[in-house]
């Protein structure tokens, strides 16, 4: 009995696999998509939900959406998959990975994939500030998806306690310092509540992009082959960051951990924190106090870098797969979906169309902080992104951390970083 059974089963399985293989090559397209998560909340569930909705509407396309860890992991995994036998066709990766991906010859420009007039219009439907990191060499390589900016979260109760108007968060650097000093609470020599915290691990260069932009200075050029680390305004911005801790004493000295900062804010240990808009929904859910969200303060001007992930399409894909990928990306970035995604996560809705949908309009009306990031977009700029981006980023990160920990002066650290960046980027000009 048993000996009979096995070969039969095997035959059946082979036949099944064969016919399945035929069927799928004739009709269906299989897509693999990698995506990262860099902020709190059950984002994987939301992505899975949207993907299965897509599959329902497009029964001929199967999507395997794989959560690959943080941004760095997602890039490594996608690039690795390209080299191995199981490539992905599309992925959400860090918007700043663009040069690296071009250098690796990994991605195609969307200009070469879009065909119809409608698709070309879609390409123009996103906020221009969010497209900056996705464009170079006159082409568009990345479509904004899980995008964020930095915003200022503040504890309104703490503002009231310090005798400050909770509806008037600091709008300038000077106000940040003066209010921060009022908000810093001490008993004896011990600080019970800090005025402000700006995280300096994880993504220090990102926070610094805001400070330097507020000082009216970008960190790099549009071709990704020159950095401005040693510009006087950049140095002054870093000096200001350091002064918040060492001179004005409204922030702890040393580096501040990106991952635990939200806990510190929720526990009332700091009255103000700068963080990604991506944290909005979690803070909303967990804060036991009245909190507000505001644009970052200005010095010479307001400013923040955009951040987060873009959709890319990989070069190693068939025309059918590219078409299917386009379908998927368009589905996930259409106004309705984008509105839903934004409400559930706190990420920016990437197009004006999404903010025009009924549900997001209502949401913003009920919860005004959700509009802050959008309104701030007109002051936003691209996030630090160059060729050799991993190394360049690390140069700046190290320079920032060495200043914040008191090992080097801002001028010394940034000049050093610039010199090394020059050496790396020269051959890309």
């Amino acid at each position: 009995m048993r000996s009979n059974f096995k070969p039969k089963l095997l035959k059946l399985a082979i036949a099944g696999a064969f016919s399945l293989g035929l069927a799928s090559s004739a009709l269906a397209v299989d897509l693999t998509m990698y995506y990262p998560v860099a902020v709190g909340g059950p984002l994987t569930k939301i992505v899975d939900g949207m993907v299965s909705e897509f599959e329902k509407q497009n029964p001929d396309i199967h999507v395997k959406a794989i959560y690959a860890g943080n941004y760095n992991d997602a890039r490594i995994k996608s690039l690795a998959a390209l080299k191995s036998g199981k490539p992905a066709q599309t992925a959400v990766m860090f918007s700043i990975d663009i040069y690296e991906l071009i250098e690796q010859g990994a991605i195609v420009a969307f200009d070469d994939v879009v065909e119809t007039v409608e698709e070309k219009a879609w390409l123009k439907s996103f906020y221009p500030a969010l497209m900056e990191n996705g464009k170079t060499q006159g082409k568009t390589w990345g479509i904004p998806f899980q995008r964020s900016t930095i915003v200022m979260y503040y504890n309104k109760d703490a503002f009231r306690k310090a005798g400050l108007d909770p509806e008037k968060p600091p709008a300038t650097w000077d106000e940040l310092v003066s209010m921060g000093q009022k908000l810093t609470q001490k008993t004896g020599g011990k600080v019970d509540q800090w005025g402000a915290m700006i995280p300096s691990t994880g993504y220090p260069y990102w926070m610094f992009g805001a400070l330097s932009m507020q000082n009216d200075q970008t960190l790099m050029n549009g071709d990704g082959n020159k950095t401005n680390f040693d510009a006087p305004a950049t140095v002054a911005a870093l000096q200001f960051w350091k002064d918040l801790g060492s001179k004005h004493k409204i922030m702890p000295s040393g580096t501040i951990e990106w991952g635990t900062l939200r806990q510190n804010f929720l526990a009332g240990k700091t009255a103000i924190m700068w963080h990604s808009t991506g944290n909005l929904t979690v803070v909303k859910k967990k804060a036991k106090f009245d909190f507000g969200v505001a644009m970052l303060p200005a010095n010479k001007r307001r400013g923040t870098p955009t951040g987060g992930g873009n959709f890319y399409i990989f070069k190693k894909s068939t025309p059918e797969e590219r078409k299917a990928s386009m379908k998927l990306i368009r589905f996930l970035t259409d106004p309705e979906r984008t509105a839903e995604w934004s409400m559930k996560t706190g990420y920016l809705a990437t197009s004006a169309g999404a903010y025009g949908t009924a549900k997001l309009k209502q949401y913003v009306k009920d919860f005004p902080p959700a509009a802050v990031a959008r309104d701030q977009l007109k002051f936003a700029t691209a996030e630090l992104s160059t060729y050799q981006t991993g190394r360049i980023r690390k140069l700046l990160d190290d320079a920032i951390q060495s200043v914040l920990t008191g090992a080097k002066s801002p001028a010394e650290a940034l000049t050093g970083a610039q010199k090394k960046a020059e050496r790396l980027l020269k051959r890309y000009r």
Binding site: I76, K190, T255, G390, D398
Partner: protein
């Protein structure tokens, strides 16, 4: 089958090699070949789609000499090894002696010592993060409760490496304790009785009798400790990512960063060659040391 008969027999030779073959295939594929390939790769530049890889001679080594991060990381690793190895071995021995004696609640104590060993580093690192976190962390809460000021433990380059070292010692010493415990239990109890009859103090007994007898265990544990000091970087991924400003980065973590974050496998290979060289040097030193001890026994 006596040794003499088998020594030159062709059959024995063939069987010996045949038995060795499966393991040899794996060792060649995943240890010897990659070692040699790493060495070779360190003489080439990193290739990308835009710039193919080419022979650059010692250029990678020259940039290594210029690389401040490398020197910092190497220095960190030496400090890390220099502190974790002796302390975790000493603690392990102390723990073993304690739980081998008539300690009240011995079993519970032994479990406590050993538990860190079976917890994954990557998971416990998150909890250590809670201990070290400023303001709301356990360490700071305790300090504040006692009237001291808190400290930004992981954000201060002067304390961050120390924090990492504490985690490593905590993780390792219980594991080493097991080896000492096994060795202690095989020591004949008469030795201690005899030493006591002769009026030797406990310290003298330890120094003159117990410690020398435990020498093989100490060597074994030391090899493990040395290897771990180059290999154990899991906690960095959660606790510090090597920061601030590389103050807590270790060689293997830096290699990971260069290879998988900067995507520069050529330079990562160069760094790996340095790591291999360090390990080889230590191995040779240990073989010399062990040789001496073999005479001693």
């Amino acid at each position: 089958m006596t040794r003499k008969m088998t020594r030159y027999s062709l059959k024995s030779q063939a069987t010996g090699w045949l038995l060795l073959m499966p393991a040899a295939v794996f060792l060649i594929a995943f240890t010897y070949y990659p070692t040699i390939a790493t060495l070779a790769k360190s003489f080439f530049s990193q290739g990308t789609a835009l710039r193919p890889s080419q022979f650059v001679g010692l250029e990678n080594y020259a940039s290594l000499l210029d690389d401040e991060v490398f020197w910092k990381v190497a220095r960190n690793n030496i400090i890390y090894a220099g502190i974790t190895i002796p302390i975790s071995i000493a603690l392990a021995l102390l723990m073993a002696i304690w739980v081998n004696g008539r300690l009240p609640l011995r079993s519970l104590t032994r479990i406590s010592y050993f538990t860190p060993t079976i917890l994954p580093m990557i998971a416990v690192a998150n909890i250590w993060l809670f201990f070290y976190t400023p303001e709301i962390g356990l360490l700071d809460q305790t300090l504040r409760g006692a009237g001291f000021n808190g400290h930004n433990w992981l954000g201060d380059p002067n304390t961050v490496l120390g924090c990492i070292i504490v985690v490593t010692i905590w993780k390792e010493s219980g594991f080493f304790m097991i080896f000492y415990l096994a060795a202690l239990q095989s020591l004949p109890p008469e030795l201690e009785e005899a030493a006591k009859l002769e009026g030797a103090s406990r310290w003298t007994y330890f120094r003159r009798v117990m410690f020398p007898l435990l020498m093989p265990t100490t060597l074994f544990v030391m090899i493990n400790a040395v290897i771990n000091s180059f290999k154990l970087v899991d906690h960095l991924f959660i606790l510090t990512k090597g920061g601030p400003d590389n103050s807590s980065s270790l060689l293997l973590y830096y290699i990971y960063e260069v290879a998988f974050s900067f995507l520069d496998q050529a330079y990562a290979s160069t760094l790996t060659v340095i790591l291999l060289g360090a390990l080889a040097a230590i191995a040779i030193a240990q073989f010399v040391f062990i040789d001496k001890k073999v005479h001693y026994q």
